[in-house]
């Protein structure tokens, strides 16, 4: 694949991380809108899509806050809104609950399930057995980079 083709592809894939990767000097809305502004969208477009994404993750009232003023769950919801703002086909979540307490983790998982129900493919990497077992979705078990198991309604196996 050519190096110049990568950015175009990335715009169609949303990514969420364990450490949120939010910009501390930007507000919630700015962090979300940033993804559109740096990929050549107009300010108006960015505002509309940001409003939509923030409403989806339930953060509209916190739009003017800075990341430091948010709880862990709110930070991750901001990150999810940023990943969804460009309406990607796939959302990749890399340990999205790794830094969150169990209750907040469940909130995030519920949100991700909703995103999935709205038509976005969700690929999540996690070590959280409870979540994997509760979701009863397709589970691909990786061991040292090798696929060792792939089940339609899988369970967590340590």
């Amino acid at each position: 694949m050519k190096r110049s083709a990568v950015p175009k592809l990335r715009r169609r894939v949303g990514v969420v991380f364990q450490d949120f990767k939010l910009l501390p000097r930007k507000t919630v809305a700015e962090n979300v809108g940033f993804a559109l502004l740096v990929t050549g969208h107009s300010g108006e477009e960015a505002r509309e899509e940001t409003d939509r994404a923030l409403a989806l993750v339930g953060l509209s009232p916190r739009r003017g806050h800075f990341p430091d003023q948010l709880s862990g769950g709110e930070k991750q919801r901001t990150a999810i809104a940023r990943a969804l703002v460009s309406r990607p086909k796939i959302l990749i979540a890399d340990e999205p609950t790794g830094n969150l307490d169990p209750v907040t983790s469940w909130e995030i998982i519920k949100l991700l399930v909703r995103v999935n129900e709205l038509g976005t493919t969700l690929v999540m990497a996690t070590h959280n057995a409870e979540i994997v077992n509760a979701l009863r979705r397709r589970v691909v078990h990786l061991d040292h980079g090798m696929v060792v198991r792939d089940e339609r309604e899988g369970q967590y196996a340590a």
Binding site: R3, S4, P7, K8, L9, R10, R11, R12, V15, K21, L23, F34, A35, L37, V38, T39, G40, S42, G43, R82, S86
Partner: protein, 296 residues
Amino acid sequence: MRRLEYVATTAAQGFWRNPVMSLASTFTIGLMLLLFAFFLATDRGLQAAVGVLESKVELALFLEDDARVSDVLDLRTRIEADPAVSRVDYVTKEQAMARLVDIAAKRPDIQIVDTSENPLQASLEVKLAHAQDAPRVTAALREEIGKGVVSDVVDNPQVVDKLLTITRVLSFGGLAVLAMMLIVALFVIVNTIRIAVHARRDEIEIMKLVGATDWFVRWPFILEGMLVGALGAVAATAVVLVAAGPVMNAMVSFIEILPLSFGTTFVWQLVGSVFALALAVGGGGAMLSVRAHLAK
């Protein structure tokens, strides 16, 4: 429009976020440009001087008093055929005398007492197009001595020779110093931008993550580099414009024979070259710096 605004704001922010480093690189670039401007001006001055002296390079062929006019004219035609020769003037005994009288009239220390007899020789004055050809042409003309027409060949090209040597040495030395300054300026710019890139590394990471193109990431930094370059150019130009008058006066009174005043065209060319180099070094250095970061 929105994007242009983004690029401009980010670049300006980058510049002021680390003012010490930005000003240091502005200063370095300014110094380099000042040297560049000085080099251009000196080179231009020397070239003008060489041109003036070259146009004065003359060989004189003194003619035998009893040479036949037809032979002299024949010789003149042959000399004129040489492409290195720009002009040949025939000066008769009478004209030579008239010149001497003319010169004497302007100088109270010389007095011509008796003009009844004319000891001066007629001559062919040969003007050369280029000073470099003087030795060859002189040698060729010396062959004519003793053949009944030419009695002596006089030339004085040493001055031009020396000047040409000085020009060459200065050009080479100037270029060498300039090249070193260029490398230093580039190095400082690369480091300044590296710091700016480092300060924004999280932002760049996220930009790349959400699919911003490499060029979108690059532009603010290239603009910041160009901003540093342009500020350096403004500083260098200001120094040049302030210093130009006094320096020029000093030079003119130092070497009176040289017409060392540059036209406005040259000044604009100089300013243009300075800004072009500044933007190239600033933008180029930034590009190198960001490229190194993006390649990681």
